[in-house]
Amino acid sequence: MASKNNRGQSIAVNAFMIFVVLVCLFPVLWMCFISVKSVGEKISGFAALTIEHPTLANFGRLFELIPVWTNLFNSGFTTVLGTITTLFFCALAGFAFAKYRFPGRAKLFAFVVATMAISAEAGAIPLFVIMRKMNLINSLWSLIIPRIATAVGIFYLTQYIKDVPDELVEASRVDGCREFGIFWRVVCPVIKPALASWASLTMIARWNDYFWPLLFLNKNSKYTLMVSVSMLPVSDGLATPWQVILAGCTLVILPAIILYLLMQLMQKAGSFSGAVKG
């Protein structure tokens, strides 16, 4: 009786998960399929699932419609620089909160946590005016500077740095390390796994960022790839073929997936679950 029950459970669990995997993968695979179909081929309904003449022509057409290389550079620039600056400043603040006892520490930390509730989107209107005053409209820095130090990042890295032994910090202080030196040469190497998982989450979020680039950038040559692709349906006089639009989607989604899979391969199991503990 018991073993029969177990078997039933085992089938139920595995079948459900296979179904979930199909739901997760299907839209992405379907996108890849259509993006390599020639424009003449039928893409409606089930016909989308067969490819007769695989072609890369849609990607070629994409390069004619939007400045792909420029947009790609813009996306890469904001993603990489945004991630590096955020990691550095969040870790630095996390180090201060975790390893120093200074007046107001607990209150300031509670304040940082509290700021997570009201997001920057709530002040989008004046933020645009401020950016214009600072001459940052149409500058990629407008996407990097406001998020140099984020509350979530500080919160996560503080929790992690707390686990670094105090003795390690004290010992390097005795050895004559300056305060910043302790952070850079002692703490940073120890928290590498946390930095790596936070880096991958930040990179994915920045790459996928849409609202802020849409708001702060309004020139073709300054758009990130995400904004350019979102405008594909109207970029060819409303006649952009779906194959080309989905080629654009492939171009923004595949790098993120590849990055994610690489990170998964490099990291040990469960590193993402560590990233969001608490």
Partner: protein, 305 residues
């Protein structure tokens, strides 16, 4: 560390605030960037939003103070009412949908009966990696009335073709499906890490006592995950009230599936009615404030126990 803590009060006495700041200059300097950026790019804009909401302004010149006029307009505006109600609908569906689905996936991932756990873990996280805007374009085509696969499947199962994005009746459905599809993996991981913290002994004891799987789930898993599930519900709430990408890419007729934040964007940056857009933002801020107050209250009461 202890030595530094003990020294703090005397420093305050001797040289006042400046001396204290100087003494602890390293940590203050390290946390300063966050507070400066928060002030300039978050606090000032939020306060300023309240100020602009009492004005009529196109963003350049002609700023005119109009008192509560924008709010009067807003409460008469059916577009505001529709967007607000849309958001309430999105909120209810998303909280229930995300928490239930994420919990189911997390429990299965944690089940000892699941094979190739690592593969499932990796693949089920994928939707979160995909950009919502690009997925929006894909969903637009999947849900197309004539050429879309969804209708094709419904018809082949004997159902009726529906104008998903072309009718105000159904336009919210693709939006919320996209939102849930993309966000569930994130919460799956949070719940999964909560499940990992539950001691196996509980389940072993329950099995010995003859409790079935469903009973174990209901009487052990759910109560022990209560806090985490609540945290998930709150996070989904915050995310859904500032949802933009999904409803913006999959926009239906009129304001049939517009989110409140999307309405802010359209009033502010398409018709440059910054005063009105700010008044809408104020509603959004109030909603977020109420949510965070609930969260704070509950956290307090839990700490008290």
């Amino acid at each position: 560390m202890g030595r530094r803590k003990a020294a703090a009060p005397s420093a305050v006495k001797k040289g006042g605030v400046l001396a204290t700041v100087w003494k602890y200059r390293a940590p203050y300097l390290f946390i300063a960037p966050f507070f400066i950026l928060f002030l300039v790019f978050q606090l000032i804009p939020v306060i300023w939003t309240f100020v602009i909401s009492f004005a009529d302004w196109n963003g350049l010149r002609n700023l005119r103070w109009v008192g509560f006029h924008q709010y009067e307009v807003m409460f008469q505006d059916y577009m505001f009412r529709e967007a607000f109600m849309n958001n309430v609908w999105y909120w209810i569906v998303a909280v229930i949908g995300v928490v239930v689905i994420a919990l189911m996936i997390a429990v299965c991932l944690n089940s000892p009966r699941l094979r190739a756990k690592k593969v499932f873990q990796t693949v089920t996280f994928l939707p979160y990696v995909c950009a919502s805007v690009a997925m929006g374009l894909i969903f637009m085509m999947l849900f197309d009335e004539n050429a879309g696969l969804i209708n094709e499947i419904i018809v082949s199962l004997g159902g009726k073709r529906r104008a998903w994005l072309g009718s105000s009746q159904y336009a919210k459905i693709p939006v919320i499906i996209l939102f849930i599809w993309r966000i569930v993996p994130w919460f799956t991981i949070i719940i999964y890490s909560g499940l990992l913290n539950i001691s196996k002994e509980y389940y072993e004891a329950a099995t010995v006592d003859g409790a079935g799987v469903l009973q174990q789930f209901w009487y052990i898993t759910i109560p022990l995950l209560k806090n985490i599930l609540f945290f998930c519900a709150l996070t989904v709430t915050i995310d859904i009230w500032k949802m933009f990408n999904e409803s913006y890419t999959l926009s239906g007729p009129g304001t049939s599936n517009t989110s409140l934040f999307q309405l802010v964007y359209e009033n502010g940056f398409k018709s440059f009615n910054l005063g009105y857009a700010s008044a809408l933002s104020v509603i959004l801020i109030l909603v977020l404030l109420v949510i965070s107050m609930i969260q704070y209250r509950l956290r307090r009461s839990e700490e008290g126990v």
